[in-house]
Structure formats: C-alpha cells, structure tokens
C-alpha cells in the first residue's frame, strides 16, 4: 500500500491549517480552523478535502 507522503506539500506551511484535495495537493491554507472552513466553502467537492494542521515540525512526540 505505501504511506501517504505529504511532507513536500506541507513544507511550505509552518502554522495554521491546510486543505488537501483527493490527490493530496494543498488547495487552501488559513491561520485557524474556522478560517480554513470558510475558505473551502466555495468548492463544490469540499467534502472530499482533508483538513490538516500545518507545523514546522511533526517529530518528537511521546504520548
């Protein structure tokens, strides 16, 4: 199956939220969860989008 590598797309974004389309391309970004939802309102296929938190790092978490 292989993992879904979104690292290259995410690299351009350090904070806030992004919206991925089905091909895992970023089609919108915003600073807050409310704003990203407002930004994707205009898309007819918005229910296909994955909203993902942007960060400058994802490594180093212990839970």
């Amino acid at each position: 199956m292989g993992a879904i590598d979104i690292s290259k797309e995410l690299k351009k974004y350090k904070k806030g939220w992004v919206a991925f389309n089905k091909s895992y391309k970023i089609i919108a970004s915003a600073s807050t969860f409310n704003e990203i939802n407002e930004k994707i309102e205009k898309y007819k296929n918005k229910e296909e989008f994955l909203l993902f938190p942007a960060s400058d790092h994802y490594f180093g978490f212990i839970t």
């Binding site: 199956m1 993992a3 969860f33 939802n37 229910e47 909203l51 960060s55 790092h57 994802y58």
Partner: protein, 133 residues
C-alpha cells in the same frame, strides 16, 4: 481486512493517522475529514478545543471535567463531550475530552476508550499500513 496507510508529514516521520469526520448532533455541524492520531497510549479520545468550538460545543461548568497527565508529567484539564465520529466506515457516539492543550499537530487523538474498544488495531509500520478489524 481494511488497511489504512500511514501518513508522512515530515521526512522520516511516520504517523498512524486516520481521516475522521465529526458530527455534533446538538448543532448538526459536520466537519470535513480531519486527521486523527491512533494512540494506544492514550486512555481516552481527545479533540482540540478549536474543532469543538467550531462544532458548537461550549465548555460548560456542568460538564464532566477531568485532569490528564502528559508524557512529560504536565497536567491539563479537559471536559467531556459526546461527539459522533465516522471512522473506518463506522459511525458511533464517542466520548471525547476537549482541551486547548493538545499539540496542534494532533488535534484529534483516538485512545483506548472510544476507539480501541470499537476496533482491533494492528500497527504494521514495516508495510506502512494500519489494519483495522
């Protein structure tokens, strides 16, 4: 057996993430797909306050509050809210604990109560997939 891919948000970082949809029946608001970290070390499920607020959940004193401890021994308080979750093709009411203290990289955490009590989970990092039964 349904299998779901790991996500790579940063080079050499592999996350067992499942896309989920949350549905808050009190307000009829439904999220888009959002990433949820499958975390066998978490006792319960968590949801970041930003998402809960968007859904229309309000932190009320009448709700059940609990104290949690992070891996570095810090404490935080979260309140309980039942939110419907659609995950791995199954929809059910899930008791989420809402907090603004969650790392923003992991706004949803699927823990033992609320997720692992609904599914059998096999982490297969060698094949970069999670098997959910």
């Amino acid at each position: 057996m349904p299998k779901y891919p790991y996500f790579i948000p940063e080079a050499n970082v592999y996350k067992p993430i499942l896309p989920v949809i949350l549905n808050f029946q009190k307000t009829h608001r439904i999220t888009n797909q959002i990433p949820a970290l499958v975390d066998s070390g978490a006792d319960v499920c968590f949801c970041h306050e930003d998402i809960a607020n968007w859904l229309g959940s309000m932190d009320q004193k009448t709700k059940e509050h609990k104290e949690f401890t992070t891996a570095n021994n810090e404490k935080f308080i979260a309140y309980k809210e039942n939110i419907s979750i659609l995950v791995c093709g199954k929809q059910y009411d899930c008791p989420f604990y809402i907090s603004k203290e969650l790392p923003r990289q992991t706004p949803i955490i699927l823990g033992q109560l609320g997720f692992f009590d609904h599914f059998k989970v096999i982490f297969d990092l060698a094949n970069k997939e999670i098997e959910i039964i």
